[in-house]
Amino acid sequence: MKTFAELNFPGRLIAVEGLDGSGKSTQIYLLKRWLEAEGIKVYFSEWNSSELVKAATSKGKKRELLTPTTFSLIHATDFADRYERHLLPLLRAGYIVLCDRYVFTAFARDVVRGCPPEWVRGNYNFAALPDITLFFKTDLEVSLNRILEGRPKLKFFEAGMDLRLSTDPYESFRIFQGRILEQYVAMSDEFKFVVMDANQNVEKQQCIVRKLVSEKIELRKFRRRSPLPLPPAIQPNEVRTPEHDEDLAAA
């Protein structure tokens, strides 16, 4: 597997990985805000968010129809849809694509659920590797507390209840998350994760993230071109809006 840079894509992909409650979504959101403010072409994509597949996934989850195999495949379908329809064209167009979870989430979760690792990895091998993968590593207790404090009701699959680890959802969640963390740690070297200490405060982490991104990616190459001049007006008596004038001035 190669990264997008190694495959000569003009765009770059940055992924964040980590347990629920590791703070990765906050960090990637703040990164997005910064890149946008810098005038960089940026796109954000979240795990399990394809419109096309959503109905099937939520039905499967609600009615507890999913087995480890179908759980894995339906998430792969979701990923493929986002990958082929959004990520690839945007990366061809020179965007910086930010992914909240990437294939490593599947590698960790599906394997914990009992799917053969080679099978899961093989199914995702159409995807190139991120140019940067940030792994937000927390002590298990820290991320457990963050989740369990704020959201007392755990969903069936989220808690790993399908694995029958425990009849108590909280206990099940703890064991499940612990096993996922082991998988992430085991993958860290192989996939060159940048390991972030997610126990420190949010601002400090964001500083590190921004510094790292600007060191690894030559950001000025990803700026939008200055706005294109507007096409000549078709109607001679067209009403000019203030925005229109501003756009013209900017051009």
Partner: protein
């Protein structure tokens, strides 16, 4: 198609298989009928079910896009023609896996005869024609349990066109491979697509060794042929 393993009554998966399944418990028989739309698959399966049930064998039928999990969603996604090839492929694989785990494997365990109106081969052939990697497909469908028999009803594309038109007065978008851009003309596209699909099946036949049945013959003589072959499978063990 029988490997020495299966002649000894031993089941196997094509690849990594499904976790925690005891293959030796799968006592039933899995019989697959493959072929294009209009090849006579459904007719033959209906006749086989009649014959088997009259003979006292319990049967279960499965087919493509029949899963509880994704059949409806897959159907509606296909209507919009916005599915890219990997997504389409994985969507069908999900549909297959759902039926495999919830119908095929439990039925085999209960000693049923499972009749599959198409199996992984059609799915693989479709994807191969669309440029998916053979190795990727082999890994993906390594979850499938190896059937006791696979019959491929081979019918000339020109004959398939006639049968489809006389039945529906139109050709199906996907069965005509319209997404591949062979031709804007649906008739031409159908013939080209089905010819390409037959090429893919020939390639798969070398790996998976299914029995090719000449589907250009009258319905009755095909049924007779199939019964004879299935009788032999039922006599094993």
């Amino acid at each position: 198609m029988n490997t020495s393993e299966q002649k000894n009554g031993l089941r196997c998966f094509y690849g990594h298989g499904i976790p925690r399944v005891k293959l030796e418990d799968l006592a039933g028989k899995l019989i697959v009928v493959e072929g294009a739309d209009g090849s006579g698959r459904s007719t033959q399966i209906a006749r086989l079910v009649d014959w088997l049930e009259t003979g006292g064998h319990p049967t279960v039928q499965v087919g493509l896009k029949r899963s509880t999990l994704v059949s409806k969603e897959l159907e509606s996604a296909q209507k919009g023609n916005i599915l890219s090839r990997t997504t389409l492929s994985l969507f069908y694989a999900t549909d297959f896996a759902d039926q495999l785990e919830n119908i095929i494997l439990p039925a085999l365990k209960a000693g049923f005869i499972v009749l599959a109106d198409r199996y992984i081969y059609t799915l693989m052939a479709r994807d191969m024609v669309r440029g998916m990697d053979d190795g990727w497909l082999k890994n993906l469908y390594g979850i499938a349990v190896k059937p006791d028999a696979v019959f491929y009803l081979s019918v000339q594309p020109q004959e398939l066109v006639q049968r489809n038109l006389s039945k529906n007065a139109t050709l199906d978008f996907w069965e005509s491979g319209m997404d591949l851009g062979f031709s804007r003309d649906m008739f031409d596209s159908f013939v080209k697509y089905q010819t390409t699909m037959q090429g893919a099946f020939r390639k798969l036949q070398k790996t998976y060794g299914f029995t090719i049945i000449d589907g250009n013959r009258p319905v009755g003589s095909i049924t007779k042929d199939l019964r004879k072959k299935i009788r032999m499978i039922l006599a094993e063990k």
